[in-house]
Symmetry: none
Subunit: 212 residues, 4 copies
């Protein structure tokens, strides 16, 4: 937080800020936050390292800006309209969107995760963004419950968190870590949605009751 967005008036300065942000993003993606040198960032923007400090307090400052921007983009992309009589469709769409975006920006997600593990405040930022998404899903569920579409037994908050957890970790493994897993967002979203819809266990199935 603490860090304000740089607001520059002259066009030249605005260009410099933009170039620095772009360069920082590239350098961070390439080398990670810890190994990124301010001089590299500046150089990537065709600026001297001194110029960097005209616009940003330090490396952490520009990192915050880069990540905030990314989180914001991500939020925008994932946001979907809620269709009342088909709540699962909305959730499925949002899930798919999340996976798509992750797949396309796995490097930035990697960065976000890395920095979070090293910088408490960034982690808070990240988690709060996640929770923001959860809370939207939670609201959808609450509404759906009012419509009698959702099992009364479920706490919408927990359920939303669990959904988010599935998406996030699956995406990390599939796209971030490149594990050998189904990659198609549609297929994965489908699977998740089905799990949500009917559970894993066969409806007709005999003994699959919750064990106690």
């Amino acid at each position: 937080m603490e860090y304000a967005d740089p607001v520059e008036k002259t066009p030249k300065a605005q260009r410099a800020v933009a170039a620095l942000l772009q360069s920082a993003r590239e350098v961070f993606e390439r080398r990670g936050y810890l190994d990124a040198r301010v001089s590299d960032i500046a150089e990537g923007a065709n600026l001297s390292s001194g110029a960097f400090y005209r616009y940003f307090t330090d490396k952490r400052h520009i990192m915050f800006n880069v990540l905030r921007q990314f989180i914001s983009e991500s939020n925008d992309y994932v946001r979907v309209r809620f269709t009342e009589d088909e709540p699962l469709r909305s959730i499925r769409l949002s899930t798919e969107r999340y996976l798509e975006f992750y797949a396309q920006h796995s490097n930035m997600h990697r960065l976000l995760l890395q920095v979070g593990k090293v910088d408490e405040e960034v982690e808070l930022l990240r988690v709060e963004a996640t929770e923001h998404w959860h809370s939207r899903i939670s609201r959808m569920l609450t509404r759906a419950r009012e419509l009698g579409l959702v099992d009364e037994a479920f706490d919408p908050d927990i359920a939303a968190t669990l959904l988010g957890a599935m998406c996030e970790t699956y995406a990390y493994l599939a796209y971030g870590m490149g594990r050998d897993m189904e990659k198609d967002p549609k297929v994965v979203a489908d699977h998740i949605t089905r799990l949500w819809e009917s559970g894993v266990f066969s409806r007709t199935g005999g003994k699959g009751e919750v064990a106690r």
Copy 2:
């Protein structure tokens, strides 16, 4: 990998290794891997920093040992026997165990996650441990499917991964980040299991009861 476990013969040397591992674990938990100083670790074991290098190649070496040991403990704790005719009961138990262990060792999990984001090889270690757990669940599911207990539509691997994802992320938020969430492993495991059993959505369209 690369690093062999230190195998010392003399009792004195064995004690030194044990003390260093213990100290390293404490220091890592307290300060994180990056900020941990070798000298602190040595000091915590009542040894000089020079002595450290008699037993470990470098800081990374001891970190690997500490983390491998933790992962191993974790695996042991989470392993449960599979009860064929009550697969959900087994899964529920394993889930609960996982959450319990996480709650009790959230600092070590935090460490493991941190280091993973900074050291590729450690991340592999961590992910493979996770996948090991997934694969056990996957095998349970496959077996349950053969018994007709599981919906044919589900890919056991994906399902297992999704289950693991829920546990892991939920635990991270609840215990690692201390977010304001349900903390009781039993309650959470219950929720997750119920989701698995019947899905979120009401079967009858009505007020879908929780299966007992």
Copy 3:
């Protein structure tokens, strides 16, 4: 030296120079010479840092101007007319004036001293100003000696220097350092003058002669 006084023709330029000098003086007093930023000086004069260099060669240049001006003010204030038949009265008055001025401008004195310790040439400036004062006193003494008012044994130059030394250091401690000392210029000047007049030791007192 080297630096010429800025002589600007247009009224605008003259105003700029005046504003810069004023601002520089304030910034120097507030932060000291070393920590003063050219940009702060310029800003204080409502000018860009680039404009600064239109009027002054560099930071040192304006510092010289500020200090020369201060020294000149000081000289003017301290100058007193010599009353032939009452030399002590003149000296006392000059002493008092010196102390008064110092008390009122202790920040500038602090600056002058600071810069002197860091810039040989400034120290010369300062010392020469001091010696200029000394030499006036010395001339007074010489004249007084010719009149038989002063003990033949005294070298006027040394005596003048010693007088100046007393004033300067006392003022530094009392006004510059804020030590817990008599602050009233009149009282201090009185003391000093009395010392000059009759020495510390009791005239009638027994064995207080100069030890050899």
Copy 4:
């Protein structure tokens, strides 16, 4: 203050500290505090710059040590025994000692003065050392006053301060600045003492009373 004296146990470490202090003193005398580089100090002690930080927190730390040591040496040198029935002799001796020491260590005095102007805490150290000397003289005067040797009109504290001021500033000009002045400590001490003894003005002289 804040800084503790480095107390090292092993002889090697003690030698390193001594070498660093010696080197620091030389570098400081040669280049002044501000322009001295830690690396130069280390190099002068045949050590790497890293080694420096094993013993000292930073440049300021070693500077404090160097200056404290110097002040202490100076105090020791100047301290003289007080001869009750010849107070002036004691004062004269102390004066002479002060001048001698200053002449021999004018570079260190220059350093002390320079640093004081830039570091508040050092200035306090310096001033307090000075005042310590003053207070000793003050005590001598008080005692002498009790013996009826000193004019009742004099405040011993002010008088002591004035004496110190004369010595200090004279020494600075003569030895520190190399001005063209009498350099022989005996002669100067003589002059000062005479001033103290009988004042500048001729006893028999006509109108030289203190002007009011």
